[in-house]
Symmetry: C2
Subunit: 179 residues, 2 copies
Amino acid sequence: MASYHHGDLRRVLLSTAAEAIAESGPAALSLRELARRAGVSHAAPAHHFGDKAGLLTAFATQGFDLLADALRRAGDDLLDTGVAYVGFAVRHRAHFDVMFRPELYRADDPELIAARARSGELLRGGVARHTGREPDADALAAWSIVHGFATLWLSGALPPRVGDDPEAAARTVIRRLFS
Amino acid sequence: MASYHHGDLRRVLLSTAAEAIAESGPAALSLRELARRAGVSHAAPAHHFGDKAGLLTAFATQGFDLLADALRRAGDDLLDTGVAYVGFAVRHRAHFDVMFRPELYRADDPELIAARARSGELLRGGVARHTGREPDADALAAWSIVHGFATLWLSGALPPRVGDDPEAAARTVIRRLFS
DNA sequence: GGCACCATCTTGTCAATGACAAGTTAGGGT
DNA sequence: ACCCTAACTTGTCATTGACAAGATGGTGCC
């Protein structure tokens, strides 16, 4: 068919972008390459997202929503929440890569800000339930340690002795924080 | 003058790259823009670095050397070492941005690997002196928490209440780890 | 003093890209 | 039946990274 109206292009472009970014990073992302993979013309992506920053804004927003889902699924336990954060980073590497790189997208986009706030609340809530205290400093420490571990893991900077199971290694590391 | 032989181009290009990357991230870096700022022809950078990945390889190597210097200056105390790590990230934002993004450069470059190993040793050494134990898990936790804090700070993801002094905030956070 | 060498830098070119402008198609509402 | 608008296409331009080939001048060597 290859009908003139694709019908589902926006969704397809986002998932194709996830593959492309996971392969070679956000810097190497090409709108024309995405269009080629989706079988549409080189200017089709611009219609849905305006420009490259627009696409990455939508992509980051989707990422924050996926993160919120993952944190919700982890339940109330703080350790599980931390492991889920790392699991999200590993499983949705492309999203994670973009989400914390605001110079790639429009950080003032309302939908993005809302999605980011939703996932942030889940993180802070987990910490507050665990310590019972004002969560500021504890939440910051917990967020830092899981975010740092995830980032280092993804960057390949960790020595091989850490093993090949990021979530198990993360569990060990997080345990050091509240002991 | 504008003599045919610049004489110091390699060094100038690296420091110009630092400015450009600090302004708009490594993704937006343009070799031609660097050449323009340095007042040389558009192909001059390629002579010194081969290609863009070559320049970023040299840049990351310089970054690991600067990090090692900063860690050495911090002395033997673990807390100070952690604060120095964060201080390095904030003060040399552009280098830090590239160092942990191996898809941007040639991660198999021997000089880069050597520089990275030198700074890694300083980190592990600091942790070993502090705990007296086999440093693996503790070093990983300490590295994760400072790296995560630095990354979150640079990405602008932290709420305003954290304040505007990254090193002071880092000190508070790191203290939660070994308490 | 002169000469050859070669790292350094320039000019020229090509394919790929992001952005934009203008045109085409089809489907939904009235 | 008709239009009207979102979805997509074709065409174009400036910019970029990479490469090839040439120009320049300092350095060592006799």
